[in-house]
Amino acid sequence: MLQHPAKPELVFTWGNPSRGDDGLGPAMYELLLQEDLQGVDLLTDYQLQIEHAIDLEGREHVLFVDASISASAPFELVRLRPEQDSSYTTHAMSPQALLSVYQQVNDSTPPPAWLLSIRGYDFGLGEPLSAEANGNLLAAFNHIKTLLGSERPAEQT
């Protein structure tokens, strides 16, 4: 089946750039594109879906980046485990559910994965990133650069 050679590290962002702070994920993608990141694949999409399980194959580590309306500002970073939550039943999946699909489809443990949730505030159609969210984005960006240049993040809760 269709496959591209996978780099060991994957940063996967998602969100809709025209829904205000839901665009935090794609905005992070754009920032990271400007960096000279060796051994790192950058991917972005409107939302997570089942086929993204294929994008996880062959990775050593995966960092998901999304906007959150409930995370503490400026961002939260948590280790993910496969979880069969009810996001399976929607048009958009949680990263935990995606890891679970990976596990089921490949019959193997998914790569270690973390979720970086950037706090957003306003998700209106046609709105730009809010000023507060933009500040959170930059803080998260600096943290990701540190992570990608160092050992993998320790688990945080």
Binding site: L2, P17, S18, D45, Y46, E51, S86, F123, L125
Partner: protein
Amino acid sequence: MPSNLETADNPKKLERVVIEPLTRVEGHGKVTLLQDEDLHIKQARLHIVEFRGFEKFIQGRPYWELPVLVQRLCGICPVSHHLAAAKACDMLVGTTQLTATAEKIRRLMHYGQTLQSHALHFFHLCSPDLLFGFDDEVRHRNIVGVIEDSPEIAKQGVLLRKYGQEVIRVTAGKRVHGTGAIPGGVNKSLSQEEIRYLQKDIDQIVQWGQDAVELIKRIFFEQLDYHMAFAAIDTNMLGLVGANGEFDIYHGGLRARDAQGGSIFDHVDYTRYSDYLREGVKNWSYMKFPYIEALGEDAGWYRVGPLARVNNCDYFSTPLAEEQRRLFKEAGHGRPVQASLAFHWARLIELLYCAEAIRELLLDPDLGGTDLLNKGQLQGTGIGVIEAPRGTLFHHYEIDDDGIVNRANLIVSTTNNNQAMNESIRQVAGMYLDGKQLTEPLLNQIEVAIRAYDPCLSCATHAMGKMPLEVVLVNEQNEVVDRLEKRITGDIQRTCP
């Protein structure tokens, strides 16, 4: 005629049940059921509770931005909006005929997106209902349950999705926010390397398409009477067909047929859609109710999407899909198949068609052509219509002399099915809920009826999806007497005040 469960005679004396929000339906909708003291259903409505107009989002923007801009209206259907806007822009720039390369690349993109959208719906969203039954234990009735019980089916769903997304990426230039279709044509053709890349797996994709149709037929015929009766409503059906009556989801004329299959109108130039269709409003919903003007608001509502398309077309141009269409038609015994659950069957025949059509196109040398654009004189009005995976999608723009959009009207697929979805839940409510205590499996039947249409409430409302399901019972004093909540974990909890 709308069912008599649309509006109760004396709603203040009835108990109100709210299913909110729907699961496996994008966006934020809710269903309210009003029961009387004897638990009879007196009113059933699918509500849209939030609306942000896309006109505000589009107006004031230059027309050449539209094919990219409108992809952001909805994260589920970006390619449908991309292509409908591109077709409207073709008209704006005076293009009456695309180059062969441009049309075939757009078609390839459209077949790819329809294949991936239908694969998601069948393998991910609805197959759990069909494979396990509507009253299966909630936690099992999801894609994980499918994987556990039928690992190959689930894996095929993932890989079919992936293949469709790759077709989109190759034709649109990027995985998301693609720019492939532009006013008057496309901005790139396919390289031989890209064509070979997509050819590598297409035979497998066609085979999985055939397997999927066989699976849905097996499921459907195992309980034929039930599947034919569940949420079945007699409706008019609307969609595009090709010049010779063939199935065509990219371009054609509008065909409307009545519940018996008789012609209402045929091969209508879609730029004249407003002469034939009207959009009604009701004071209890933000989503409009389109109808065929000649039949009036009460009798003129219709269905769009796979069920309408497979019923309405005279034939498929690809052999495997045509063979399946003939079998599908036989199930109607001389009239259109009206079973709402036959949407699933029709959807998979379309998936098979898309796989076959992709295979044919990948052999066409025009995909690698260099003649990409045709343009003429700028016009003030642009109207583009395609058959999106969920049904007929209308984009209509008016621009000023500087090319700035000053009016926009979009009728999205889900809006076209608004009245039909309401009628389907009323049929289910009357048949399965009347006189009974409400339970989660019973309420799920309402959702199953809605899911058959694969609605995209994100398109219809621009609302963000909210996942937990909540059922609230309210008495005539507007007091909450019972509450059933489906949490993000899938657990059901009853919280009585």
